[in-house]
């Protein structure tokens, strides 16, 4: 063994190298305050390793980025764990950078002859922030997409070169495949390479001038090995434990709904360590934005850069320390303000909740038997009745109709309802209410519309209220029969079980109760004056009704204010189909829910 080591050493000089690396003198002995640099180096290597591993499954394009991250997070074995480690180590790196900078400034390690090394450190700081910024976009979720849009637009207001710079960064005028490719090249290639080279330079310069020992020296000098190595190791283990704790507690990094430039996203915020810059922008309205976005941060960075020179003055070092604390204080204050304002903003909170719901929903859809189409997961939400139905309803229907008393999204419109509440349309309960003399002219049904004085309301109020027990029994069967026309998934079993009763109901509907005096039912009737009851409440019936309620099959000339949504081009066929599915309560449900 010894011979082999000698052979190796003779050819590489490894022993001398190792000796030099380990037996660096530390005046005053090992101390905990020197661990930050090693922790950062460790954190960076964790990022390089986990990043390369993530790369084996990540795919940067606007139809595959979110999808591949979803695959890592939800399908691949331990993918969530790996991604979580990468995500949280990145957060800690920012924190460690600040601590390292503080230690260097407080201990005066930036002063001559260590200026160059200080600047290396500052450049590294910026590069790591750039790493965070580019990494934030890569999952191509709503949060990353909108936050990056803001960041690149800020780059765009840089005087003279701004617009070109922005175009170069995002690879065109629109955000898409090229933006992701460029950000990925920066994030996984160019930036880490630069950081790696600079770290080598940083450590070389650090060794050249030696450690800046904290005065007064408390113990006798010691070598880097083993005292400081052990302290560094323990600190890195603590970092690892903190990362693991967060990863396991949150089950890895967050993944929002896929980026969608057509979906508003009021929950867009940068990562927490950029929140102070985000907050600062709020104080610079209109064209003064450049002051908050570029000039002030630029000035602060310049002062920090000049610290080695400022320190030459008598009170320079004190000024530097105070300035740094002031900067951190302001950043902390702005971060606090940003968090407090968001915490009290109902719009933000609602939007955050909505974002969470969408993030969860898209995963359900991605795991459904249809899976993610080649056009990307963004289409899953765009074509999902549960996601789009309420939005379409709130925008187009809720000025007259309600859904369980609200506008579909949970808000109560200011104007009272002037058309039926459509929650549960076609169900037995809904139809029973409609045929209830007490309820038909309530605001849940015809109360707010012209139909409250129509024949149907009159029939229910005058005739149905006088029904004998036998007729009531017939009516129950008619309700079941009519409800069966809707062919609702939720009533499928009930309808199958009571097929006899439904058959009776159909009979009564045509005869005794006289529905077919005005309505058509399963037989063409040119003289019908009221909506067709064939397939009443079914998907097809609803779609046709919403498309054109004034069609002779429905209200004809008696249509009360309801727009012809398809025929007048207000809604597309797909939108009408989604709102119909949603009203019928039919959307994909994961197995656990069914």
């Amino acid at each position: 063994m010894k011979a082999l080591l000698d052979w190796f050493d003779h050819r590489t000089g490894a022993r001398k190298l190792l000796h030099e690396a380990l037996f660096e003198n530390i005046p005053g002995g090992a101390r905990w305050r020197y661990v930050w640099g090693s922790m950062l180096t460790f954190a960076f290597s964790v990022q390089v390793i986990t990043g390369l591993l993530l790369w084996t499954s990540y795919n940067p394009s606007s139809t595959t980025a979110w999808e591949s991250v979803y695959y890592i997070q939800h399908e691949l074995w331990g993918g969530w764990f790996l991604r979580g480690v990468h995500h949280y180590t990145a957060q800690f790196m920012t924190l460690l950078l600040v601590l390292h900078l503080m230690q260097v400034v407080i201990d005066g390690a930036y002063k001559a002859p260590r200026e160059m090394n200080f600047w290396f450190g500052l450049i590294l700081f910026k590069l790591v922030l750039a790493l965070s910024l580019t990494g934030y976009l890569l999952p191509w979720d709503q949060k990353g997409f909108w936050a990056t849009k803001v960041a690149t637009n800020i780059a765009g207001i840089t005087p003279v070169i701004g617009p070109s710079l922005q175009k170069l960064i995002i690879g065109g005028t629109d955000y898409g495949h090229q933006t992701l490719s460029r950000f990925f090249a920066l994030h996984a290639g160019i930036l880490p390479l630069l950081i790696g080279l600079l770290i080598v330079g940083h450590i070389y310069l650090f060794r050249r001038h030696g450690i800046t020992a904290k005065q007064p020296l408390r113990k006798r000098d010691a070598a880097f090995w083993p005292d400081q190595v052990l302290k560094d190791g323990v600190a890195c283990l603590a970092l690892m434990a903190a990362v693991l704790f967060l990863v396991i507690r949150t089950r890895g990094g967050e993944l929002g709904a896929p980026a969608d430039p057509t979906e508003p996203f009021s929950a867009a915020r940068p990562e927490w360590y950029f929140l102070f810059l985000f907050q600062l922008l709020k104080y610079f309205p209109g064209t003064t934005e450049i002051i908050g976005a570029i000039i002030l941060p630029g000035l602060a960075a310049t002062v920090v850069f000049l610290m080695p020179f400022i320190a030459r003055w008598r009170l320079g070092h004190t000024f530097n320390v105070c300035f740094l604390f002031m900067l951190l204080g302001i950043a902390g204050l702005l971060t606090g303000l940003a968090l407090r304002q968001d915490g009290r903003d109902p719009l933000f909170l609602a939007s955050e909740k909505d974002a969470e719901a969408q993030a969860q929903r898209v995963v359900e859809l991605a795991q459904s038997p249809t899976g993610i189409p080649p056009t990307g997961a963004v289409n899953l939400l765009r074509n999902d009745p549960l996601t789009q139905g309420p939005k379409i309803f709130a925008k187009n229907c809720a000025s007259c109709h309600r859904y369980g008393g609200h506008d579909g999204l949970g808000h109560e419109p200011t104007d009272p309802p002037s058309a039926p509440d459509l929650k549960g349309i076609g169900t037995r309960a809904w139809i029973s209410g409609f045929l209830d003399p007490q309820k038909i002219v309530s605001s849940n049904y015809f109360g707010g519309s012209r139909h409250k004085d129509g024949k149907m309301a009159g029939f229910v109020q005058k005739k149905v209220s006088q029904y004998s027990n036998e007729q009531r029994d017939q009516l129950t069967k008619v309700i079941a029969a009519l409800s069966a026309e809707a062919n609702l998934e939720s009533q499928k079993e009930l309808d199958a079980r009571e097929s006899g009763l439904i058959e009776d109901g159909r009979k009564w509907l045509r005869s005794e109760l006289g529905c077919t005096d005005c309505h058509q039912f399963r037989v063409k009737d040119e003289d019908a004056t009221a909506p067709d009851l064939t397939g009443y409440g079914s998907k097809d019936w609803l779609v046709r009704f919403i498309s054109n309620p004034a069609h002779p099959d429905f209200y004809g000339k008696k249509n009360d204010r309801m727009p012809r949504y398809a025929d007048d081009g207000v809604l597309t066929e797909a939108q009408i189909s989604m709102v119909a599915d949603w009203l019928r309560g039919e959307w994909f449900r994961p197995l656990a829910e069914r």
Partner: protein, 183 residues
């Protein structure tokens, strides 16, 4: 650069403890990050191929009676990592009517190294352009010097509804004498 000689001997025992601890810590720190990714890297090993089901390949009428093989694309639902592609081309087969009137299906993939085998009408026979494996019309090895260890992979065929040709589409491990389905 200032370096120091080894520490004085009276600290030896404490030093040993520190050194051991530092080495253990360093070992954990070096091993943990790569380990975090091991399960994800190994994930493909636990995934099974969903091939092996019967697929409708062609109409019976589309296959002439002349006994000459024709190439048909195989369309099937395909899952590619996160994407699902409904009815998309997943491969191809040669179909031919034998003189006895049976229908034979051969996978176009060469059992030697996986290239796409050509059908040469002039010969007639199959020929793999990569390493010159030659196969007879029925898929058996036509040349003793053929690099392929086995003949072309035949696939099960069913005629359904008297008009449709269905094939049990599968791929097999390349380079082996036995026909082992890829799982």
């Amino acid at each position: 650069m200032s370096t120091m000689p080894h520490p004085p001997p009276d600290d030896n025992r404490r030093d040993f403890f520190k050194k051991t601890s530092a080495i253990v810590a360093g070992g954990i720190l070096a091993a943990a990050p790569p380990l975090a990714g091991v399960p994800m890297i190994l994930d493909p090993l636990r995934r099974k191929s969903d091939a092996g089901a019967f697929v409708r390949v062609a109409a019976l009428a589309a296959l002439p009676n002349d006994g000459v093989p024709r190439k048909f694309a195989v369309l099937a639902d395909r899952r590619d990592a996160w994407n699902k592609f409904p009815r998309t081309p997943v491969g191809a087969v040669y179909l031919r009517r034998t003189p006895e009137g049976r229908i034979e299906a051969l996978n176009v993939v060469c059992p030697h190294a996986g290239c796409f085998i050509d059908f040469l009408a002039a010969k007639p026979g199959y020929f793999c352009p990569c390493h010159n494996s030659a196969f007879a019309l029925d898929g058996s090895i036509a040349d003793a010097k053929s690099p392929s260890a086995r003949g072309m992979d035949s696939l099960e065929v069913e005629v359904r509804n008297e008009t449709e040709i269905w094939v049990r589409y599968q791929n097999f491990e390349a380079g082996k004498k036995e026909k082992i389905p890829l799982a």
